[in-house]
């Protein structure tokens, strides 16, 4: 089954969509697509069939998001914790993923037409090599598209992602690109797998569970969380509208909290820069305390240098990540 479902909304759906769009709309929605196996049990079908239905629901949800002008969607497809499942189930899921990515590559013209950019986030080296190669091809093929974005979290947990970001920063320090004192909240955010996306505005989890299960813990600290009891394969357009309405009700207060946090972050950065400058002046000064103007100049200079360093480091990181995918692509894809 296809990744892209064509078709318009019906009249009632269109009207509701227009009413919702009159208010603030999320630009990035994240889904924890939970409930496939429970759905399969409920309908007396095989587990694998439940996962297939789950994938179809994903395609449909993307169509609704397109009509609601939501340009970016992130989904939790496979957690590192899911490797603990039976070998049969894990192999089944890997096989499903392979089929889907192969299908995606077949549809590349359609993807180009709709401007869909696919990104896969996670510790991809945990996956079988042939799946890695397919993923790499999908990512590289759609890299330049920029109308809508689908981020698939595969072999992902938030803690691994954060740890990886710290590792990357440590790598930057080893390479002499940045200093340990350059490590900040915004730099860490830039080193996450999701660095090309803004933080999700809305996180939806289906099937009634009320936890985050190690998904985007850093990125969703100021997102609207909506827990819905419907099972993922039974998700409807109205469930999505319900979630968006919740987002709209919470919008102002979350916005305020976000702004407060950003102000605080900026202050932290300023304090950190000041501390570095003070230390520098102490070591390289002539013993006399520097006057306010000199301190200010030094601060501006230090901040500019730090930002340049960080930019160079991020370029190097981007290059490293792109190479990872390009290298996988240059290997012949197994039929």
């Amino acid at each position: 089954m296809s990744w892209i479902k064509e078709g318009d909304l019906n009249l009632l759906e269109k009207i509701s969509a227009n009413v919702l769009k009159a208010g603030p709309m999320p630009k990035h929605v994240a889904f924890i697509m939970d409930g496939n196996r429970r759905f399969a049990r409920k309908k007396n079908m095989e587990r694998q069939e439940g996962h297939m239905q789950g994938f179809n629901k994903l395609a449909e949800t993307l169509r609704w998001c397109k009509h609601l002008n939501i340009p970016e969607v992130t989904v939790y497809a496979f957690s590192i914790e899911n490797f603990k499942r039976t070998k049969e189930e894990v192999d089944g899921l890997m096989e499903l993923a392979k089929q889907k990515f192969e299908r995606l590559l077949e549809e590349r013209d359609n993807l180009e037409k709709h401007g869909v950019c696919i990104r896969v986030l996670g510790d991809l080296n945990m996956l079988p090599l042939d799946l890695q190669e397919l993923i790499a091809k999908a990512v590289v093929t759609t890299r330049a598209h920029n109308k809508c974005f689908l981020n698939v979290c595969f072999a992902y947990t938030s803690r691994y992602e954060i740890t990886n970001a710290v590792r990357e920063m440590a790598w930057g320090v080893e390479q002499g690109l940045i200093k340990a004192s350059d490590v900040s909240e915004s730099l860490l955010s830039e080193c996450l797998y999701s660095n090309n996306s803004p933080n999700p505005d809305l996180l939806i989890r289906t099937s009634g569970e009320v936890r985050l299960s190690d998904f985007l813990l850093w990125q969703t600290s100021h997102s609207c969380l909506v827990f819905q009891s419907v099972l993922w394969p039974e998700y409807s357009f109205w469930n999505l509208c319900e979630a968006i309405l919740q987002y709209q009700l919470n919008h102002k207060s979350i916005q305020k909290a976000r702004e407060l946090h950003q102000e605080h972050q900026a202050l932290q950065q300023l304090e950190a820069d000041r501390a570095c400058v003070a230390e520098h002046l102490q070591h390289h000064g002539n013993g006399k305390p520097a006057d306010a103007q000199r301190r200010q100049e030094a601060l501006l200079h230090y901040t500019a240098c730090r930002e340049d360093r960080v930019q160079d480091f991020l370029e190097a990181l981007k290059h490293k990540r792109n190479s990872f995918f390009s290298d996988l692509c240059s290997k012949p894809v197994l039929a």
């Binding site: 440590a170 009320v210 190690d214 946090h261």
Partner: protein, 288 residues
């Protein structure tokens, strides 16, 4: 056309707010009214509320009729304490660490203190209190005073239930006690702690004490636990209408259950117990 949709949207929001207000009013009334007809009427009204996203409210209405009938066995306080302890033991599972996330403006110290004392009395070992403005942290001593006061008021025996107050900041407090512990948290304990741990690691890499390849999830986890030394929260009770974690301990909440309550003001013991009962019935599959 756009104007029409704008108006319709405002109308929709208004309807949702009216519905929410109506239901909260009814909820208060229902505490004294247990008529079946009343319950059915409220259930019918709740459908739109469910659409507005307050799924927890209808569970609140499953009012426990025994709640008001306290077994008065001699000393009233003893009865209450015994009841709280037995309530805790009756639950299928009790969280070891509960986070109280107050997502409301102008927190009420006495209500929060009540919640803390009840949690301890029911048998919960660790309680964290959080708000995203850092108000509790700034007024740490006031909150702790209030908790001690509530402890005395509720007749909770000081020596048995003495609470260990973990001080904040960078001091590495080694808690090896089995006494209930209260910790007051603020946004600095969230992302900022992760950044500090990252800086520490990068500094050791800078000093060639370790390599970037050595960095693992458990390394980061140990660092983030060192200054807190308490287990991850099993449950977070969120008070207030805002549906967000508002920066609460991002690293530690990976498996935390979130249960929302409408407000912490005038919250009752039964509200809290309801939430704990909900927690007891949830199943964690841990990826499997």
């Amino acid at each position: 056309m756009a104007l029409l949709y704008g108006l319709l949207w405002r109308l929709l929001l208004l309807l949702v707010h009216v519905n929410t207000a109506l239901v909260s009013w009814l909820r208060v009334r229902l505490r004294s009214w247990k008529g079946r007809l009343w319950e059915r009427a409220v259930a019918a009204l709740l459908l739109p509320v469910a659409l507005a996203g307050f799924p927890d409210q209808h569970k609140k209405l499953n009012h426990n009729p025994d709640a008001t009938a306290n077994p008065v066995t001699g000393n009233r306080d003893d009865g209450r304490r015994a009841r709280w302890l037995s309530d805790g033991k009756a639950l299928e599972k009790l969280p070891v660490h509960v986070g109280l996330l107050v997502a409301e403006e102008e927190p009420s110290y006495s209500d929060v203190a009540n919640l803390v004392v009840w949690c301890m009395a029911v048998g919960i070992s660790y309680v964290s209190v959080y708000d995203n403005h850092g108000i509790f942290r700034k007024n740490n001593s006031r909150l702790l005073e209030e908790i001690l006061r509530q402890q005395n008021l509720l007749g909770v025996d000081g020596s048995k239930y003495s609470i260990e107050f973990l001080s904040n900041g960078s001091d590495k407090h080694n808690v090896v006690s089995c006494r209930p512990t209260v910790k007051v948290l603020s946004p600095e304990d969230g992302k900022q702690s992760i950044v500090q741990a990252a800086q520490q690691i990068c500094r050791s890499v800078e000093n060639k004490e370790r390599s970037s390849k050595d960095i693992s999830v458990s390394m980061l986890d140990v660092l983030l636990r060192e200054s807190k030394n308490i287990p991850d929260p099993d449950l977070v009770l969120k008070f207030g209408p805002v549906n967000s974690t508002l920066g609460f301990l991002p690293w530690h909440i990976r498996l935390t259950e979130f249960i929302s309550l409408p407000s912490h003001r005038d919250v009752s013991y039964d509200n809290m117990l309801d939430a704990l009962q909900r927690y007891a019935s949830c199943q964690q599959r841990l990826g499997q």
